[in-house]
Amino acid sequence: MKNRLKVLRAERDLSQAQLADLLDVSRQTVNAIETEKYDPSLPLAFKIAALFGCQIEDVFQPEGQG
């Protein structure tokens, strides 16, 4: 799954560690999501979308779309 997490994080001038604290996950998890090595669970994906004030599909897109 592709995502815009890195772009959204950069727009808000947040570090990976700061975002990890806000999402209550580890920095490694934020890094793995950004590098698309790990797809988050639905609750975490909703949490990320809510944090950036957008819809879930604005952050995550299936492979081959977007």
């Binding site: 209550d24 580890s26 490694q28 998890t29 890094n31 793995a32 090595k37 790990y38 988050p40 975490l44």
Partner: protein
């Protein structure tokens, strides 16, 4: 971001104390085995303090709370100690005493496993997946490694030492963890 603990924080002091106690206990036990308790105690305390500083000075790769790291260290040490004491005292006891003695490391081991379980429960979803996959690889790898060992046991009629099985299990778990960390890292 804070990546290590301050020298005056309660966690830092607790880490030093835990490292010191763990090092001293293992040092004495090993010192007894090598015939020099004082040397074992001194080296153990020094290494234990170094361990306390080490875990305080770096960002933990997993999101275990510090108290769980300390609990794992203490219960793991307790397990090793009870195993060592049993091995040393094995020849001195017999019958029911021997069976009771063999039960003590089991209890310490159960406490250790409970601590590891609590630590895994405190992880986030990706780190839990890393641990689960590592355990699965460790289990599968151990099962595969046991096949030639079992065949050798049958052909030579000399059972393998239980320590070999423990070493294989730990090695396979570590291989699994490295593999999954590389995959998600």
């Amino acid at each position: 971001m804070k990546t290590f603990l301050q020298n005056d924080s309660p966690d830092f002091r607790a880490n030093l104390t835990t490292g010191f106690v763990v090092g001293a206990m293992l040092g004495v036990a090993l010192g007894m085995g090598f015939g020099s308790i004082l040397l074992g105690l001194a080296v153990g305390m020094a290494l234990g303090l170094a361990l306390g500083i080490f875990i305080s000075r770096r960002e933990l790769p997993m999101r275990y709370p510090m108290y769980l790291v300390r609990r794992m260290l203490l219960t793991g040490t307790l397990f090793l100690l009870t195993m060592m004491i049993f091995a040393l005292a094995e020849g001195m006891a017999s019958g029911a005493t021997l069976i009771l003695g063999a039960m003590v490391p089991t209890l310490a081991g159960a406490l250790f496993v409970y601590s590891i379980g609590s630590a895994i429960a405190s992880l986030d979803e990706m780190q839990r997946r890393i641990q689960t996959e590592a355990i699965a690889i460790g289990f599968g790898g151990t099962a595969i490694a046991l096949i030639p060992l079992a065949l050798l046991d049958i052909s030579t009629h000399s059972p393998s030492h239980w320590l070999i099985l423990s070493l294989i299990m730990v090695s396979m778990w570590l291989v699994g963890k490295l593999w999954t960390k590389r995959r998600y890292g």
